[in-house]
């Protein structure tokens, strides 16, 4: 049976401004689905833009190339990634500088 594990890498802090989730080690996994669950309507003209980042050491980060479509409404969104090495995180920006978006970010990993 293949191992799998889902980590909730953001829940407590609303997303705002320029953000990046905490580093998460994923070296054991072959594939990942990253979910963003926006719990409340973000507000008029507020947009969440997010992209996947990888890292050789958990310290310095580089864009992996996968991006979410612009998120403007409450709902569940996802991207799929593979061949990501030992670390994953989600980086992004909330376009209205004063806005806060209540969201959960999940990394669903599988061997």
């Amino acid at each position: 049976m293949r191992q799998s594990y889902t980590a909730v890498v953001e829940r407590a802090n609303p997303l705002s401004g320029e953000f990046a989730t905490e580093p998460y080690e994923t070296g054991w996994a072959r594939e990942a689905v990253i979910f963003v669950k926006v719990r409340e309507e973000p507000g008029d003209n507020v947009e969440l833009r997010a992209r996947v980042q990888i890292s050789p050491d958990g310290i310095d980060w580089v864009d992996e190339g996968t991006t979410f479509p612009a998120i403007r409404r409450r709902g569940v969104y996802f991207v799929k990634v593979s061949n990501f090495g030992n670390w994953l995180r989600l980086a992004g920006r909330v376009t209205d500088p004063g806005a806060k978006i209540r969201a959960l970010v999940y990394i669903a990993l599988k061997e």
Binding site: Y5, A7, E22, E25, W28, P56, I59, D60, N86
Partner: protein, 274 residues
């Protein structure tokens, strides 16, 4: 039977590094996965923002499987194998990250927790960071027919910018996750092998024995030192609904500075007696 059992334990390199009581409740080697270890969270109702208990535990961070991969030397691996359980704080002074495993007990008896662990701050600064981790600890959350109690031990590594390096036990306190109520283990000073740069990590052995009948601490051992804790206990709390025979085991790490701090556990064995 005892001789046969001892021989079998000694013949298995995974188990021979432990000294279990007669019945192994669980043995988690994190090369096999997260084994039921998950993030601590406070209680809430109706929404995540409506916190009813333990507000300090609402951001305890998800545990992960780490290969201890460093920016300078790559993967170190764990004590035995490749992966260890990793608990990581945010880069914020005072932040506490905690993971736990939730089971139940079936007999009030002596219980022993053994683990191999190491801790370090994130290596981004290229400094040793020996005063960056405030504390690491091991805890139980227990409830019998009469009361709930929170025995815990911690290694207080640094505080108020100073290196402390001593063991403490949880004597009272009501704030999960173990933010108050600490007392020193008598003669509990112990400089641990911390090594010379942030990316070199040495593993440590910990053994901690308690008694579910008397609700008392019994013994603590780390590497070459052992202490009797007889007669000491965590002041019991009232029994809570829905928790009879609760047996949660937790590991945590607390940051002393605005830097991510990591606790790694290679493997853990919890045992009890007939």
């Amino acid at each position: 039977m005892d001789d046969l059992r001892r021989a079998l334990l000694r013949a298995d390199p995974r188990l021979s590094k432990f000294q279990p009581l007669s019945n192994i409740i669980f043995y988690d080697d994190f090369d096999e996965g997260l084994c039921g270890w998950t993030e601590l969270i406070g209680n809430y109702e109706d929404s995540l923002e409506q916190v009813t208990d333990y507000p300090e535990a609402m951001d305890s961070r998800p545990p992960m499987l780490s290969s201890l991969t460093m920016h300078d030397t790559g993967t170190a691996g764990s004590f035995h194998g490749t992966y260890a359980l990793k608990i990581a704080t945010r880069a914020r002074c005072g932040h506490l990250a905690k993971a736990l495993k939730r089971i139940t007990f079936r007999k009030k008896a002596r219980v022993q927790c053994e683990l191999y662990f190491t801790f370090k701050p994130e290596g981004a600064e290229l400094k040793l960071g020996e005063r960056d981790v405030r504390a690491i600890g091991v805890s139980y959350d227990l409830q019998d027919e009469a009361c709930r109690y929170w025995p815990a031990i911690r290694f207080l590594n640094a505080e108020a910018g100073a290196r402390i390096e001593k063991w403490q036990y949880h004597a009272g306190g009501t704030r999960l996750p173990h933010l108050d109520g600490w007392e020193d283990v008598p003669d509990g000073q112990q400089p641990l092998c911390y090594n010379e740069i942030a990316t070199k990590q040495n593993w440590h052995y910990l053994r901690w024995l308690i008694d579910l009948r008397s609700r008392e601490y019994l013994e603590l051992q780390c590497n070459d030192r052992a202490w009797s804790l007889s007669g000491r206990a965590h002041a019991p709390l009232k029994a809570y609904p829905n928790l009879r025979t609760l047996f949660n085991v937790g590991f945590w790490v607390e940051a002393e500075v605005d830097k991510r701090c990591f606790l790694y556990v290679d493997s853990v064995l919890v045992s009890t007696e007939e």
